[in-house]
Amino acid sequence: MLTWIICLPLLAALLLTLVPRQNTSVIRTIAIGITAADMLLALGLFFAFDAAPALDGYKFVQRVPWIPSLGISYYVGVDGINLGLVVMGAIVAFAAACVSSEIKSHQKEFHILLLVMTGGILGAFASLDLFFFYCFHEFALVPTFIMIGLWGSGEKKNYATFQITIYLTIGALLALAGLILLYLQRPVGERTFDIVRMTRYFAENPIRAADQNLIFALLLFGFGILVSLFPFHTWAPLGYGVAPTATAMLHAGVLKKFGLYGLIRIALPMLPEGAKAWVPVLAWLCLGNILYCGWVAMRQKDLNLLIGNSSVAHVGFAFLGIASLDLIGVTGAVLVMVAHGFLAALSFGLSGYLFHATGTRDMTRLGGLLQQLPFIGTALVMALLAGCGVPGFANFVGELLVMFGAWKGSYSPHPHFYVAAVAWGGLVVAALYALRAIRHLLHGPTTEIAGEAQDATVWRRVPFVLLLASLICLGVFPRLLTDKIKASAEATLKFDSGKRPSPGLSVTAINPARK
């Protein structure tokens, strides 16, 4: 089933190469139909998850040895941590296929790339083999560059493409170096790319602390660059600003989570000492993401840049959840990843719609859109409010869990300082830029430019409704996902929480005896 989910888009891409390029409606039908089928399969996977039998903690496992001498095999499976990502990826891919009607030239190539990207992303999340994990990611990454370079818009297109390519390539290379070093840690003959076995092995035979520190740093910054960790974030807002809508949705929503997923799946369980050494740094960088990028977002006049910066700010929560070295925090981080995937896709999708409806993304030139576009306007209000942590949306639950986890985390002698700063960023700064955007774009009298815009037809509402429904569903019933995350996080991650120092804001705090 999992293999079908991964291969369906790739097979469809192959199929598309055979379709004549003039038949755009056939191309669109195939792309939308296949991603829809993929989404339904993924949802089926989600609802069958609880009842399915588990092997080493993973379900729907499939394994085909490929190069035994190097220990490489095609090995896929899901547990609570990547299940949500796979489902989210499939839903976002369908939404991205839906909004790709905006592409007016070379539709065939665009849709092929889109499907390849989808297959790559889903493959990367489902892989339990390091080799495939990395290769699937590259498979998804390269189409991104091409799509931005060829179908992008805006004056800075070339610069942005150049920047995003350099950054992401460097990030991927750093991570690759870290992964290879990790692979080499096992003695010759025993070496394997099997993530499950590697995790078990390194738990029993810990790597030397110095090596752990080095590898963790490579993974942290390599994966970090892929996820726009401060101060390596500038590619993101600019790149998403010029990218075609579907690409921005898929990359910001799904592909970007690869780095975070790598940190949780590989770095945390295999390199616990390295994690302890590096998380104080990571905690500081999170503040850069959440507060600093929040402030940058406040100043943006272009809607896409605002969404891009706020998206950079949001991944800060996932980083903080990882940095907390606490199960509550990691659970929150995974939830933030899934929630942010839906949210980023929704926001970029809506922004793309507005751009095509009004011809501009300049917020100072727009206004009163809520009257003109009741549906799109309402959806945008909801997206922006979800971004500033309003309960009822999944983002709130994720951010709440991250803050709870970070409050008790042992990553720093002053965890409360970070949480206070992050709460300020999430509650106040995020509200400042979100409400400003609503005020400029949607409220107030309708401007001339906005007056001619048309609201979405029923069919074009489908992707937005779907994404919003997913956000609300997880926001109201978070246990749909958190219960699964919790079980898997407890099984794979061991934080020595028993020995952590008692929290307290001051030296004079009296710490009572605790049970």
Binding site: R299, Q371, V390, W407, R479, E490, L505, V507, A509, R514
Partner: protein, 640 residues
Amino acid sequence: MLHEKLPWIILLLPLVAAVAITLFTQRDGRFSAQLSIGAVALAFIASVLLFAISLPQLADTARLSYLRVNWLEATGLKITLAWRVDRLSLLMLLIVTGVGGLIHLYSYGYMAEDRSRSRYFAGLSFFTFSMLGIVLADNFVVMFMFWELVGLSSYLLIGHWYAKESAADACKKAFLTNRLGDFGFLLGILLIWGITNHLDFDAVRGWLKLHPSGIGALASLAGFLIFCGAMGKSAQFPLHVWLPDAMEGPTPVSALIHAATMVAAGVYMLCRVFFLFEIPQAWPEWLSFLNGWTALDLVALSGGITALLAALIAVQQDDIKRILAYSTLSQLGYMVMAVGLAGPGAAMYHLTTHAFFKALLFLGAGSVIYALHHEQDIWRMGGLKQKMPATWWTFLLATLALCGVPPFSGFFSKDEILALAAQRHVGYFVLATLVAALTTFYMSRLFFVAFLGKPRSESAGHAHESPKVMTVPLMLLAIPSVFAGFFGINTFLERHFHPGEAISHLSIAEEMFAPFAHAPIAALLGLAAVAFGFSAAYALYANAEKDPLPEKLGLLSRAMRNRFYFDEIYSGLIRITHELLAQLADWFDRWIVAGLMVRGLHGTTELVGRGLRLVQTGNLQTYAFIVAAGVALVLYIFLR
């Protein structure tokens, strides 16, 4: 069992209505309105039922258990949706669904011609749902969630006419100011959880009972942070600035949110978690300059300042809704002050009576505004007594209640606060008495100018009484506004806050004179303040054509009219903090991170590329030379 599910039914009815309206009945405003009114009416009936079922079983503070749902679980953290049914929440349920229901009904007439009536009623229902959530919450996080939802729904309702610039600005301001308070609230919750490991109210309370000084040096800070939440929702100084602007919303919204319910949430929450303020107080070292103050002292101070400040500002406002808004602020200050003076019972009592008469005042003002085609300046009204008798009568009764004239309800509840202040701190007593005098003064001014005298504008001359659907709620609200002093609300609450103590039951006649028997000085001085305020207003405003005060007070009047310049100071503060930080960050991002570092990298790469291009000439001789040089170098290294 039905009654175990009753809290769920009460809570979810308005939510169902809100969702149904949003999804299905957007086009049919009339039906949406009926749906919303029906839901809140059913919720009211269910609340009465719940009240009747629970009351005999409620032994003082004990509470009944209801269907619980695990909402969220992570390792070491569990958040349960459980509803708390005790005297406090039962009383609030009746207020929210009862007063709220009447306001829903009134809106049916007031918003009859609005194009987006469906959106309005969906917002109203959603707000009711969120508010009921706060009332029923039995857990800090659950309360925080509904707290946020109330902020959100008030944002949507204040911004109902979002196409108007002022309304769009007002809703944004309300939300952001609330967020500032919520920031403190969330930190307070985390602080308490971090130490006690509990989130349920009863569990935290039980833990604190076992370890009275368990929170240690952070005790006062925890209390203060929690109070920050109340400061935002109940619009207490220094976060009071959003409430007057929120009057940009439709008038029934002002009545519902900014008089009877949402702003009361802060006071209610303080009463709900009052046990947090009863533990030994201490500040951490870095806040040692606060030593000697308890968290409650700060609460009382904030409330006292708000009460006085808002009453002073109200004296010089001309917009009928703004006068009422500042009056609300001032009365909320009273309640918060009462909590700060360790009298949560008195605060809740005043909250209850205030909900009745202030909702009535707002709805009366709405009726006037409706009749005068959205005229809100009291100096363009006048002579409405004859034209709008029902509005006039009910407004008069509510004004008397607000001023604290016996035997109206406000007299009893205000007297409890005055008596409490007299007992605790003479300074607060003087302040409270002064505020009482000011209250009577500005309310009498409003009444003289708007309802008596001659019509001062054409629209005032042509005013007509509002339709029945609006005047009937006014009359219904007038009943508790007058008689709530005799309902025994205070003894009902006493048994919640002081369980086990013998409480004497008084007959109505005894109840009437109880304030004079209990704390005669406070009661008499309170009455004197009313008399003083009224005679001053009578001397200045009976038959006045324009406001004589600006000439008499000069600069002070200007300051009052400009609301003591708080808005200007705050926007300045925001400009020098967040705007500046945002500008700095943006500049840094553009020029340092993206500019120097990225372009620098770009530049060096290009430089290396150019350097390498020099080597790559395509000239065979050069290549041969380079190869030879390389070989020589390698040989040199190895043979050395």
